[in-house]
């Protein structure tokens, strides 16, 4: 149980800069999810904390102890790998006990700890089996067990659920969360799946091209995305983006297609990008008229794909509760207060001036 602190941590492989000056601070017992597209440096960040890579610059502190120059084994961290990395020739018991044996723990103590973890994870009947005799979900549990028995200061998860099928993933996701809460171990969790990130994290760190795009709670990220990248990354279906211009002293946005969208408060700026989530568009009697391309019924709701009439062919997705009858065009209105405004040039969020 400890805090984790990263100060100006950067990493380059040769001339390629993978991580740029990351500052990060985890509270005790917090679960922070690092999320981003592949190649954004999220796994590298995790490996730096684990000690499997050495940072080019910066300092890493775990529980107040500078570990930047320490070996992985001296950092008191445990890691769960994407493909589990179980020792193929060892039984489940030995897999979990290996780290303890190396630390010179007594035989009785090892048995007690492993059995305790096995009980917690429902692995008891499998202790004598080899990894190849286990299913994917069971292997994942063993990998978790191996991390738990060590009582580490920090759990590191490297996309632990991406090799599981969809149903099992949802189940294991909930299990990991419950377990982490129960054990109260500070955790760093890397994933490319935004749903996993939203459901698991106390806070999210969204990485984009090696830099932190936003660090906030899941709801803050969802409701106040810091830039167009974050806005497009979080939420499904993706947020709609429309080029616009701020008019009337920044209290309304004029779409290129013509319609005027009223805004709450007034904002500085001129050329902007308007961001509206599909669920914040309502069918009928509104500012926008769409030519309908495709109607996708999902059961409880329907997705309407269309394009703004008179616009520059921008694709728009509307999420409507219930069913939608086939139609050529559809009128939609924007829910006031759910419009995000981003600077057109930099993509940064523009908040209303109080």
């Amino acid at each position: 149980m400890a805090t984790l602190e990263l100060q100006g941590v950067a990493k380059s492989f040769g001339a390629t800069q993978v991580l740029r000056e990351i500052d990060l601070s985890l509270n005790d017992q917090e679960m922070l999810v690092i999320v981003g597209a592949s190649g954004c440096g999220k796994s590298t960040l995790l490996r730096l904390v684990a000690g499997l890579e050495t940072p080019t610059r910066g300092r890493i502190t775990i529980g107040g102890r500078d570990v930047t120059a320490l070996d992985p084994s001296e950092r008191d961290v445990a890691m769960v790998f994407q493909n589990y990395a179980l020792y193929p020739h060892m039984s489940v018991f030995d897999n979990m006990a290996y780290g303890l044996r190396i630390r010179g723990m007594s035989r009785g103590e090892i048995t007690r700890k492993v059995e305790e973890a096995a009980q917690l994870l429902g692995l008891h009947p499998l202790l004598a089996r080899k990894p190849r005799q286990l299913s994917g979900g069971q292997r994942q549990r063993v990998a978790m067990g191996r991390a738990i028995v060590r009582d580490p200061k920090l759990f590191l998860f490297d996309e632990p659920l991406s090799n599981l099928d969809a149903k099992l993933r949802v189940q294991m996701r909930a299990e990991i969360r419950k377990l982490q809460r129960r054990l109260g171990v500070t955790s760093l969790y890397v994933t490319h799946d935004q749903v996993e990130a939203m459901t698991l994290g106390d806070r999210l760190l969204i990485l984009h091209e090696g830099a932190a795009a936003q660090l906030a709670t899941p709801m803050q990220v969802f409701e106040h995305p810091a830039d167009t990248y974050v806005a497009g990354f979080v939420g499904s279906p993706t947020m709609n983006f429309l080029p616009a211009r701020l008019v009337r002293d920044g209290t309304a946005a004029q779409l290129e297609a013509g319609p005027l969208i009223p805004l709450q408060g007034h904002r500085p700026g001129d050329a902007v990008t308007l961001g509206i989530r599909p669920e914040h568009l309502t069918c009928g009697g509104g500012e926008l008229t769409l030519t309908v391309d495709l109607i996708e019924p999902l059961g409880s709701e329907t997705l309407v794909h269309g394009r703004v009439v008179g616009g520059d062919d921008e694709a728009i997705v509307v999420k409507v509760p219930g069913a939608v009858a086939p139609t050529e065009t559809i009128a939609v209105s924007v829910q006031v207060g759910h419009v995000h405004i981003f600077d057109h040039a930099t993509g940064k969020r523009i908040d209303p001036i109080a």
Binding site: A50, M79, R146
Partner: protein, 276 residues
């Protein structure tokens, strides 16, 4: 799919078996027959089982000043084991260094090992002899096997095996706190067990069949290997005790055959199994 036996395939297989087995059978049959009859070319395909005593005779008694066969078998066994084990130990260590450690000139080291593939024993036999002579190892058991234990082939094979070990496994062990030697012992060796067994079989047979080097380095009769012994027994045509030569040959065949048969399961697994 087909229930009808494939007669052609079986015929070819049986022919193949005959091609391999017939000479061996001839040697066995010949070992129980009269040397003069063999000289006259009257070798019968039917062994005379009453003459099996030739085996105990060659095993225990020495002929023409040479060692008895049991002694030569022992020397061969010792040499083959030393070569096989030595080659495996050295090549595992060098492959381990090349695969898991980042050190200056790592690639140079690897290529140097690779290049020695082009220098078999026969090519470097004179310099090797000089070196052994300088060490005073001529006519010693150590001299028989030490120059033969470096192996580029085995190093390359283990390099392939070790490279196939997933990075995550290495990292998991590092986080678990395993040092390099511990990782080698606890993870790398058990995981490559089947490959080690397969290589042992090949190298044992290789060591057992060594001829040129033992002939050169050990002139002392007490160090004669079984292969050398057989050649020495073939003297002047008329004086050669052919049944004894053939009995010795059969005895010389047994240990490698035994090793192959006993280790067949691991041997096949080691050469075919890709899963790590």
């Amino acid at each position: 799919m087909r229930n009808r036996p494939d007669y052609l395939a079986h015929a070819i297989l049986i022919l193949g078996v005959c091609l391999f087995a017939l000479p061996v059978w001839l040697v066995f049959a010949g070992s129980t027959q009269d040397s003069d009859a063999i000289m006259r070319g009257e070798l019968s395909l039917v062994p005379h089982f009453s003459n099996l005593s030739v085996y105990t005779r060659v095993l225990t008694t020495s002929s023409m000043g040479s060692q008895p066969v049991w002694h030569m078998l022992l020397i061969s066994l010792g040499m083959a084991l030393a070569i096989a084990v030595g080659k495996i130990v050295i090549s595992i260590l060098s492959a381990y260094a090349v695969v898991f450690f980042r050190f200056p000139f790592r690639h140079v080291a690897f290529w140097l090992i690779f290049v020695t593939l082009m220098l078999p024993v026969e090519v470097r036999i004179i310099p090797t002899y000089t070196v052994m002579a300088d060490f005073g190892l001529i006519n010693s058991f150590t001299g028989l096997w030490v120059p033969l234990i470096a192996s580029a082939t085995a190093t390359l094979l283990f390099r392939q095996v070790f490279t196939a070990i997933p990075d995550e496994l290495v990292e998991a062990a590092r986080i678990d706190g395993a040092g390099p030697l511990r990782f080698l012992r606890d993870i790398v060796l058990p995981v490559s067990g089947a490959n080690i067994a397969a290589l042992f079989v090949i190298l044992f047979v290789y060591g057992w069949n060594q001829y040129l080097w033992p002939l050169l380095v050990a002139t002392d009769q007490g160090l004669d290997t079984i292969v050398i012994g057989i050649v020495k027994m073939i003297g002047q045509e008329t004086q050669t005790d052919w049944s004894a030569v053939m009995a010795t040959t059969v005895l010389a065949l047994l240990p490698p055959v035994l090793v192959v048969v006993l280790m067949q399961r691991w041997f096949v697994a080691g050469l075919t199994e890709g899963e790590k």
